[in-house]
C-alpha cells in the first residue's frame, strides 16, 4: 500500500545530499554538534527532540527519538511526560490566543 510516510525512508535521510551536497553536509554537521553533550546532557536533548517531534508531528522523528531516549536510559514515564510537555505547549498556544479573541469580542460588543 502506498502512503506518504514510509518507515524505510528514514534510513535514506542522508541521501538528501545527493541533490545538494554542501547544504546537506552543513546540516548534518550542525545536527551532530547540536546533539553532543553540552550545557544540556545528551539525554536532555533527546527528550526535547522527542517533545518537538510530537509538536511538528514527524513520524520519522518520533520513531527515532523514542528509540534514542530509551537507549539513553529514559523510562516510559519520562517519555510520556515529554509528550505532555509538547501537548501542554500546543494546547496553551491555542488557549492563550483566547485573550486576543476576548479583546476583539469586547471591542466589538457593547
Amino acid at each position: 500500500m502506498e502512503t506518504y510516510y514510509n518507515p524505510e525512508d528514514l534510513k535514506k535521510f542522508g541521501k538528501i545530499g545527493d541533490f545538494q551536497k554542501d547544504l546537506a553536509d552543513k546540516f548534518f554537521d550542525y545536527y551532530g554538534e547540536v546533539f553532543k553533550e553540552g550545557a544540556l546532557t545528551a539525554r536532555e536533548k533527546s527528550l526535547i527532540a522527542l517533545a518537538v517531534a510530537h509538536t511538528v508531528q514527524c513520524p520519522y522523528c518520533i520513531d527515532a527519538y523514542t528509540s534514542d531516549t530509551l537507549e539513553k536510559g529514559c523510562t516510559e514515564e519520562q517519555l510520556m511526560e515529554a509528550v505532555h510537555v509538547a501537548g501542554a505547549i500546543r494546547g496553551g498556544a491555542s488557549l492563550v490566543h483566547g485573550v486576543q479573541m476576548m479583546n476583539q469580542a469586547k471591542k466589538k460588543m457593547m
Binding site: K11, T41, R43, S67, L70, E71, K72, G73, T75, E76
Partner: protein, 343 residues
C-alpha cells in the same frame, strides 16, 4: 513461561537459529573483520575460564540466551568440574567465571567454589539474585560468597519494577531488591569491604544500550534513594540475537531492524576488544567454546582440543575463533561483553 525446548520451538535447535541469522542477506560478520584486518580472529590469551554449570534456573527470563528455566535439567557433573579444576591448577588462568542457569542450583556448586578458592583463583559468580531468597538452603549464600571473596555479578535490567519484571517475571524486582539487601548486609557493594558486587543492565527490548557511565549513575542514585541498596559497578550488555531474544525479535517484528542497527553500529575498537579473545567458555557437558553465546549455538572451538578431557592450552591459545552473524551483538556501539562495554 516454558523454555523454548519444553515448548518444542524450532529455535531450541541451534541449527535453526543459525539458519535464521544467515538467511537475510546481511553482510557476513567475517567480512567486517576482514575489512579491518582482524580476520581470522585470534585470542590474546586465556585469562578467564567461564564455566556454565547448567541450564537449570529458578527463573525463565524473556531474553535468556541459554533458554534456561526450571524445566531444564542439564547440569555439570563433579567429574567435569574436576577436569576443570585440574586444568586451572596447572595453568596461570586467574579468573574463574561461574554462570548458568542459576549456578548455585548445581549440587556441587559450593564444592567447586571451595576447590577453586583453594587454588587461589578469583571467582566470579553470575547470580540471578532471586536464588538467594528462593529457598532456605540458599539463604546463607551471601555469607558463603563473602567467605571465598567471590565477586557477585547480577542481572537487574532496570531500577524500576515495571521494566525488570517484564523481562524477568512478576515479582522478580522486589525479590531482587531483598537479595541485594542481604548481600549489602554482609558487605557486598559497600565501599572498603573488598567484596565486589556488580549489576548488569541489558535493554528491555529491541534497542541498543546507552553509555555505561550515565546508566550507572542513574542506577546508583535511584537504588540508593528508593531502596537503600548499593553496588559497585554497572556492566552494560547488548542483547544477543539468539535463542529467546531471537524468538522475541521475530515475534515482535523487530528482527530486521535490530540486526541492521547492530550492523550499522559496528565499531572496530569494540571488535578488537571482544571477550572471546581472552575467555574460554566451558559447557555443562565439558565441551569448549569461544564464548557463552557460541556455546548456546553449539559452535565448538576449532581444533582437536574440544573437551576438558583433551585440554591443550597451547593449541587453544592459538585457535581461530568461530564467528557468525550473532557476533555483531558484541561489536555494536560501545561494545558488549560479560564485563560490560568494551570501548
Amino acid at each position: 513461561m516454558k523454555s523454548l525446548k519444553a515448548q518444542g520451538h524450532a529455535f531450541s535447535e541451534s541449527t535453526q537459529q543459525l539458519e535464521q541469522l544467515n538467511k537475510n542477506g546481511f553482510e557476513p560478520f567475517k567480512e567486517k573483520l576482514q575489512n579491518i584486518g582482524l580476520f581470522p580472529l585470534k585470542p590474546t590469551g586465556i585469562d578467564i575460564f567461564q564455566m556454565n554449570l547448567g541450564k537449570m534456573c529458578n527463573q525463565t527470563c524473556q531474553h535468556c540466551h541459554v533458554d534456561a528455566g526450571p524445566d531444564r535439567k542439564e547440569i555439570m557433573t563433579r567429574e567435569t568440574m574436576q577436569y576443570c579444576l585440574d586444568i586451572l591448577a596447572k595453568s596461570n588462568i586467574q579468573t574463574v567465571d561461574l554462570t548458568g542457569g542459576a549456578p548455585e542450583m548445581n549440587p556441587d556448586f559450593r564444592w567447586l567454589v571451595e576447590e577453586a578458592s583453594a587454588l587461589g583463583k578469583h571467582i566470579i559468580n553470575r547470580c540471578n539474585l532471586t536464588i538467594i531468597n528462593a529457598n532456605k538452603k540458599y539463604h546463607d549464600l551471601p555469607e558463603f560468597f563473602a567467605k571465598h571473596k567471590v565477586e557477585v555479578v547480577s542481572s537487574l535490567p532496570h531500577y524500576t519494577a515495571f521494566r525488570t519484571d517484564r523481562q524477568r517475571g512478576d515479582g522478580v524486582f522486589d525479590r531482587s531488591i531483598d537479595a541485594m539487601k542481604r548481600l549489602n548486609d554482609v558487605g557486598y557493594g559497600i565501599e572498603g569491604s573488598g567484596l565486589e558486587f556488580n549489576l548488569v543492565y541489558n535493554p528491555t527490548g529491541a534497542i541498543l544500550p546507552g553509555p555505561q557511565a550515565s546508566l550507572e549513575a542513574d542506577y546508583k542514585r535511584e537504588l540508593k534513594r528508593k531502596f537503600g541498596v548499593e553496588f559497585n559497578n554497572l556492566f552494560v550488555i547488548t542483547n544477543m540475537p539468539i535463542s529467546r531474544f531471537l524468538e522475541y525479535l521475530l515475534r515482535s517484528g523487530n528482527y530486521e531492524e535490530y540486526m541492521q542497527t547492530l550492523i550499522e553500529a559496528f565499531n572496530p575498537i569494540a571488535a578488537s576488544g571482544v571477550m572471546c579473545r581472552n575467555t574460554l567458555s566451558i559447557g555443562w557437558d565439558g565441551y569448549l567454546y569461544d564464548c557463552d553465546f557460541n556455546q548456546m549455538l553449539d559452535l565448538k572451538v576449532k581444533g582437536n582440543s574440544q573437551h576438558v578431557s583433551e585440554f591443550d592450552f597451547e593449541a587453544l591459545e592459538n585457535r581461530e575463533i568461530v564467528l557468525d552473524q550473532h557476533c555483531y551483538g558484541c561489536t555494536a556501539g560501545l561494545g558488549s561483553s560479560c564485563g560490560g562495554q568494551t570501548s
